[in-house]
Each structure stands twice: as structure tokens, then as C-alpha cells.
Amino acid sequence: MLQFESWKKLLVLFVVALGIVYALPNLLPSGEEGDSGLLPGQKINLGLDLQGGSHLLMLVDMEVVETERLNSLGETIRQEFRTEKIRFSDLKVENRSVSVSVRKADDVGAAEQIFDELGRGLITTNDSQSYQISLDEAGLIELRNQTVEQSMEIIRRRIDPDGTKEPIIQRQGKDRVLVQLPGVDDPETIKRLLGRTAKLTFQLVDTSLTGAEAITSGRVPPGRVLLPGDDENSQSYVVEKRVMVSGEMLDGATASFDQNNRPSVSFTLNSTGAKKFGRVTGSNIGRPFAIVLDGKVVSAPTIQSQIFGSGQITGQFSVAETNELALILRAGALPAPLIVLEERSVGPGLGADSVVAGKIAAAVGLVLVIFYMLLSYGLFGALADVALMVNIILILAALSALQATLTLPGIAGIVLTMGMAVDANVLVFERIREELRRGRSVMAAIDGGYQRAISTIVDSNLTTLFAALFLYLFGSGPIKGFAVTLAIGILTSLFTAVMVTRLLIVIWLERKRPRTLEL
């Protein structure tokens, strides 16, 4: 165990040098990393709990999307039946399917033809002349994939419109999206930005009856729908189901003020939208139209003249709200509502405090362990201390090189590793002591100490590595970070204890050729 070929010495030196090079960027003041061009590595990636930021796990509400899809299928069926003059009854959407009864047996063939041509991903069942059309497994999966992917794109555009904030937006499982956004001062903003789907439509108002009348009578004329106002006190409206212009036709939106200096959102339409809007407004001058956002009437201005490419939305908004609304409208509507399942947000102040506390704890822990080893083993303790410092450099280097995320529990993991890292050295030193007590020579004792201790060292470290592995597999967020630092710490401490300390001892033996050893 005491033969150290030169290539092994070089290897140890090389690894240590590499460690120093990769760990160095972390000592630079912030903002200078990457500028020097000399150092290969990057700084350690701090977790959201250390740099501040928001972690949101959201569920894409597929129920709503499925219902919408079925509603539009229902409308298609209604129109097709009308054109084909098929008489039907009980057309409705319920229990995740569209159901309809064909009146006359003669029409069954034509009706089934229409069902067949509705598209892929559907399954039609029937009980004599009543039919049920629902999405099949493949159809559901396709709809879900589309919805989730689209949602992720819209989320990115909403929370990071300039592409500078480096958010992490990941799909998790079937219908979940994880959003991690570093450095947020007010996590409520993100939730507000993602809290509405922002489906914008312009629909003509039916002036033949007021919303209040429709509520009291409980009846809405066919092709019309009753929509509530923006807040609880405002009136509701009966509007045409037909949509004049929808949010997809928006070209841009900015916060502005109307002629009465009230905060509003100015928008411009693309060419399709402008053409359509111009046609409808031209033939409906004097009638009010409803600006509908997420199923609520924001306002219902009267059409004064033909409107083409642009307009203004004024409602009960504050300036901040118009800014957010403009941003959301620019980003586009979410295909489905997002439900926050889990949130973890840390303010920048707490993150910075945690980093400071972690650094102090690590420094104090290091000093305590160094002194204790020195007091217990003298010179060999000092050698082990050198190895311990190399160990810490290597941990920092590995974290930087792998760009693993350092979390607050991860700092605890590093401090804990310092305590456990010296264990391998302790095992060897205790063995050497035993060998010396048995009257062995210095060389033989050290050689025997290493030979005997090594299998114990490997066994004991492997079992701890198992614990770290399962923490990584089943843990989330900060706990994963803890597992990573623990695992890295185990591997580096194995290396430093077995290679670095041993090399130092071998060099000492070669230089001094001691006859006695006090340990």
C-alpha cells in the first residue's frame, strides 16, 4: 500500500489541480464569472431557496378543455344536421360525451356518416337512435399533449416575455407543469399572470332583453348566452354566441389611457381580425358589443362607427392591471386553466441570509473538525486536515462542473460530509495505532493499517451512498440537492482519504524515514 507509482502521484496532483481550477470561479465576486476566459468552469448553481425565487407546480385543468372540445363538437353536429335536414332532439354535452337522438330511422345512415367524418380520436356508441360521441384514449392523450405543450409555451411568454429570466418550465407527469423562476420579488405577480386563461372575445350584445330580465325569466333566446359582468356589482348581459373577433386575432396590446384618462389597454388586430371586425361593426353601428374576458363582460361599448384594426378596452382597471392584462393578451390565451398544486417561494432577502448562515456554519464546522483532528492525531491529523480541505475544494469543483444545484439542505450535506469525511482517516489511523501497539515497525504498521482499513472504508461508504441514492430518487427540490451533495461528498472523501492522505504520508515517510511514530 505504500508504493506510489509516479503516475499515481501525478494523477492525484492532476485531480487536485483540476479541482482547484473548477472551484476557483466561486471565489470571484459576482458578475465576473465567464468574463475572464481563463477559467473553464462556472459558478455553483444556487437553488431557489438560496438565490430566492418561485417554484410552482401546476395542474393543467383538462376537464375544461375536454368540455370545450365536446361543446364545439356538439355545435358542429348541430350545424351539419341542419344542413342535411336531419331532425334530432336532446343534443347536449354531459358525462364527458356529446349525446343526441336522431328522430327518424331513415336519417340514421346520414347521421352516422356525419359522425364518421367528425375526425380522429373519437368513439361513437349508440342505443338504437340515441348516440353518444366521446373522446377515445388516443384522442384524450393527443388533446392532453397539445394542451400541455401549448400551455408551457404561453407560460413562458407570460412570465418571461423578454427571454432574460431563465425560468425552468418542465412537463411533469401527464398533465402537470413545473415552473421555476429565480429571483422573484413578489411571487403573487406570477400567480396573477398565470391565474387567468385570458380568452378574449368580442360578441354583439342582444338588446332585445337585458341581463336582469333574462335572470328573472330564467330563459335565454337560442343562439344567445347570458354572461356576468366583471365584478359582482356590475350588470350581466345577453350576448350572441357568435364571436366577432377573438384573442388569436390580436396583433399587439399595450397599456394606455382612454380620453377620460382612465387606465385602458390598446390593441391592434391582425389583417383577418381587422377585416372581420370592420365588416361586423360596419353593419351594426349603434349597437353595443361586449368585450368578454374569461367569460366575463369587461365592458360593452356602443359601436359609434366602423372599426378596423385597433381599439381600446376600458374597464375597472388600475394601471398595474392594464400592464398585466396587456402582457397576458400579447402572450396569448392559455388553452386551459392552471391550478396551483404546490408553491414554494423564497424572497431574495431570506435566500441571501441563508447563504451567509450556511457559509458561517461551514467555516465554523471546518475549524472545529480541523482542531479536533489535530489534537487527536498530531502530524497525521494535520495531514488529514489537508486532505479535508482538498475534499471541500473537490466538492465545490464537482458541484460547479456538474452544474448541480446547491440548496440549503445541500450546505448541511457539505458540513455533514466534513464530519464524516475524516472517518476514513480515523479508521486508518486507529488501525495504524493498533499495529504499532503490536510492535510493528513504522512502515509495516502504516502499510497494515491501510490494507486492513480499506475494505471497511468501502463498505461503510457504499451503504451511505445507498441512502443518498434513494434520497435522490424520491426526494424533490431541496432534498434532491442534499442527496447530490451527500453523494458527491462521499465520493470525494473516499478519494481524499485513500489517495491524498496516503500520498502525503508516503512523502513524509520517504523524506524522514522515521524509526518511531507517535500516533
Binding site: E343, G365, L368, M420, D423, S460, N461, F470, I479
Partner: protein, 314 residues
């Protein structure tokens, strides 16, 4: 040169004489832990039962806990728990899971932050919905279960089955008594606690393996000795290392408890407890259980034995 030695070089403590008492003590400890757990249960954090946690710092001197409580109770959010956190300006607000869906929870967070007003800076917001809470609990149990199983298999692979059983009993003893401690003290049991328990398991098994390695080595080396004497000898030989490593680890953890900030304090305290109980269980429970078996001393598995044995011909 002076050396600090917490354990003298040549101890000859008769551990085997202490084992029966220790096993009774441990059995009582485990039973008491299970009892406390069944009676008072764990103080589950929001990670597992869902709910809202908000950490806030007062901008103007010490936080006014009773004033805040009054304001928050008017929000009618059910169980609200306020406590100082680390310093007297910092405060931790825990609110039970709200009736209704996830939207109700988000609304509650907004209501709380508004109620705190400008006198307080919100430093941390955590919200876990019921779905995720249940999943996290499931994953946590799975992690502990799988880790225990993997460790057992590894020990079985490296040692004889008797060692494996003794090790897993010692390990379970540590895990159960840690859970008992959390039930007794009503410390919050959260994801970090699960991490602490797994680390405790790793540390404890590490300790046990070191002792077992020595037992195996001595079983082969001293064929004429009584099994009892071999166990005693092995424990005495490793005692100095056991204490040394425990003390260094405890020193490092102590640094976290004192300087690491309020978030890490409970985590580090749980681990300090784990180091102590893990060290105890390696010496008393693991070896105590091992003594109940008639250990094999043949050399049939010599080739996969420890590397160190090759040098031990003298």
C-alpha cells in the same frame, strides 16, 4: 506530544455483560416510541398534510405576535399557528388547508399577505395542495422503505444473513425511536425530516458495518476464542474510532445548529440525535442481536472476504 484521547487505547469493557440490559432498554424505547406515535401521532408539516406556510419579517422592531394573530383570526381561515422563528423579528405563520379547491388556498395566501400589510416583509411562502401532499408522503415512505431494503440486501451480500438481520434491527430501532422523538416533542415532521432519517440510517449503518467488519475479521483470526469474547474484543478495538467519528460529526452538526439559521436548525438537531442513537445502536443493539446467533466461522467465503485479510497471516 500530547494527544487528546476520549477513549483510552486499551479498553476492555465487558459489553456483553451490558447487552441484556441494553436490549431491554432498547425494546422499551421502541415500544414507547410506537406508543407515543399511536397516541399523539406526528406533527405533520404542510409537506404532507397540505396547507400554507408563510415566513415574514417585521420591518419595525420585534414582531407583534398577538396583534398579528388577532388580525389573521379575523380572516376566518381556521387553524392558524404563529411562532417566532429564529429571531424576534421573524415570524412563521402556518395555516391549515382551506376548505375547497386549490383556488381557495391561493386566495387565503393573498388574504394573509394583505393582512400583514407593509410592516412585514414576506420572506417565504409555501403552499402544498392535498394531492401533492399525499404524493410526497407516499414518496417519503417509499424512500425510507427502499433504502432499508437495499441496505439489508447489501449487508446480506457482504456478510452472513445473521449480520444482515442484526443490522436491520438496529437500523429500524434508530428509525422508530427517531419517529418516537418527533411524536414526543411535537417537532414538525416534514420532507427535511425524512431526509434526516435517511441520513441517520446511512450513518448508523456505516457505524454498524465498521464493527461488523471487525467481528468478521476476528472470527476468522481467533478460531479458538469464544464467540462472546470475539464480540467483546471487536467492540473494544473499534470503540476509539466509533467515538472519534461520532464526535467529529457532532461537532460539524453543532456548527449548523448554532450558525446555520432557523431553517436548518431542526434538521441538524434531528441528525445530532441520529448520530447519538446510531452510535449507541451499533454498539449495543446490532452486536447485542448478533450475540444471539451462533455465527459461522468456516472460511468458505474467504475469497470474497476483506482485502485486508490477505495481509493478516501472522
Amino acid at each position: 506530544m500530547m494527544r487528546l484521547k476520549l477513549v483510552p487505547s486499551d479498553t476492555s469493557i465487558d459489553f456483553m455483560k451490558l447487552h441484556p440490559a441494553a436490549l431491554v432498554f432498547s425494546a422499551l424505547l421502541v415500544l414507547a416510541s410506537i406508543g407515543i406515535f399511536l397516541v399523539s401521532g406526528l406533527n405533520l408539516g404542510i409537506d404532507f398534510k397540505g396547507g400554507i406556510l408563510i415566513e415574514a419579517r417585521s420591518n419595525a422592531g420585534p414582531a407583534n405576535v398577538s396583534g398579528l394573530r388577532g388580525g389573521l383570526e379575523q380572516l376566518d381561515l381556521g387553524d392558524i399557528n404563529l411562532q417566532e422563528f429564529g429571531t424576534e423579528t421573524d415570524i412563521l405563520i402556518r395555516v391549515q388547508r382551506q376548505e375547497g379547491d386549490e383556488k381557495a388556498q391561493i386566495a387565503a395566501i393573498q388574504a394573509i399577505t394583505q393582512s400583514l400589510g407593509s410592516d412585514y416583509e414576506v420572506r417565504r411562502t409555501e403552499f402544498v395542495g392535498p394531492t401533492v401532499g399525499a404524493e410526497l408522503a407516499e414518496k417519503g415512505m417509499l424512500a425510507v422503505g427502499c433504502a432499508l431494503l437495499a441496505i439489508m440486501l447489501y449487508i446480506w451480500f457482504r456478510f452472513e444473513w445473521q449480520f444482515s438481520i442484526a443490522a436491520i434491527l438496529a437500523l429500524s430501532h434508530d428509525v422508530v425511536s427517531t419517529i418516537g422523538l418527533f411524536s414526543l416533542t411535537s417537532f414538525e415532521f416534514n420532507l427535511a425530516t425524512v431526509a434526516a432519517i435517511l441520513t441517520i440510517a446511512g450513518y448508523s449503518i456505516n457505524d454498524t458495518v465498521v464493527v461488523f467488519d471487525r467481528v468478521r475479521e476476528n472470527l476468522r483470526r481467533y478460531k479458538s476464542y469464544e464467540q462472546r469474547d470475539i464480540l467483546n474484543k471487536s467492540l473494544n478495538e473499534t470503540l476509539s474510532r466509533t467515538v472519534m467519528t461520532s464526535v467529529t460529526t457532532l461537532l460539524a452538526l453543532l456548527a449548523i445548529v448554532i450558525f446555520g439559521g432557523a431553517v436548518l436548525r431542526d434538521f441538524a438537531l434531528a441528525m445530532m440525535w441520529g448520530v447519538i442513537i446510531g452510535t449507541y445502536s451499533s454498539v449495543f443493539v446490532a452486536v447485542g442481536m448478533l450475540a444471539k446467533f451462533d455465527l459461522k466461522r468456516t472460511e468458505e467465503d474467504e475469497e470474497d472476504g476483506a482485502v485486508g485479510d490477505q495481509g493478516s497471516t501472522s
